[in-house]
Symmetry: C2
Subunit: 183 residues, 2 copies
């Protein structure tokens, strides 16, 4: 399980409450590690019990109080130990690929709108990534280690989206070709 490690990284980069973490997971981090607020709150409680993180209650005006967590020394060394372990093979869940192969047993062209919707989502995400890159890393020669590592992960996201867009175009061309020949 790496959710606790993803949370640790996020807290090391910037302390925050469960709610704030949930929103970070919805935005940036969620692009390579998803989590709901339920998972996050549960894991935060366990990590606090284990002494990986420390909580500080913050009273607020006009909105509910919150508990701001930050990474403790034990958490930091746990992260170091995890870093030295080999990665487990990633479990892939590519639903669209299943659907494309399934389309052979139905009308393949019925999948076209679905693939197009998918394509739009990836195009929008790529645009957001590129905007974020311009904003956060305008001068790549003036970055510290942390920013350079964040940047290389973002570049991975950008290349992934570019590749996916090209592939979805390939898929669409294939579906259109099958449609024409079925007439």
């Amino acid at each position: 399980m790496a959710l606790e490690h993803a949370i640790l990284v996020s807290l090391l980069e910037q302390p925050g409450s469960g709610y704030e973490l949930a929103r970070r997971f919805d935005r940036s981090i969620g692009r390579f590690w998803t989590a709901t607020h339920q998972q996050i709150y549960r894991v935060l409680r366990r990590m606090e019990t284990d002494g990986w993180i420390a909580a500080q209650a913050v009273t607020q005006d006009g909105r509910p109080d919150k508990k701001v967590y930050s990474a403790a020394e034990a958490g930091r060394s746990a992260l170091g130990a995890w870093l030295r372990e080999p990665v487990e093979p990633e479990t892939v869940r590519h639903e669209l690929a299943v659907k494309i192969r399934a389309a052979a047993f139905e009308d393949p062209s019925a999948l076209i709108p679905e693939v197009e919707r998918h394509r739009e989502g990836h195009a929008a995400l790529l645009a957001r990534y590129l905007t974020g890159e311009q904003r956060d890393f305008p001068d790549p020669s003036a970055l510290d280690a942390q920013q350079q590592l964040q940047h290389v992960v973002l570049r991975g996201g950008i290349e992934y989206e570019r590749m996916t867009l090209a592939w979805l175009d390939d898929v669409l061309a294939t579906l259109h070709r099958l449609h024409r020949h079925a007439d």
Copy 2:
């Protein structure tokens, strides 16, 4: 849940036992949808109860008997209904990306062997994909609909591996750069 649909697709392409399905998931299908034999046996039983698939006992010499499943009409129509539903957003779990951002809080160069091992794995997989493409789709102009759809999914895998290799080289270059500047 799409495991049942992935199994349906696999059974429509070729009937088989739970054990055979588990091995297909280890090889080809597992590249875009993973599953253990436990999951597969459990889902197969449920699908048989629901009438999505039909089982036929096959007695064998020299090895245990098996139950060969094939997709039933109800399963086929369930697959069609699922095809017309919109895809849910994919849940991404990219452990290496978490580790790369975590490396900012440790010695980043300690991650180099890990990334290199990862890179070798992807290079080997790309080689296997390309061999498989040569073997299964030697003449792309002479494919039926099912093969064309299988081929376009394989091309997605190939492009994914190529992109990943290029990105991992980018990651390695970044880690080496950080290592030099830390001296």
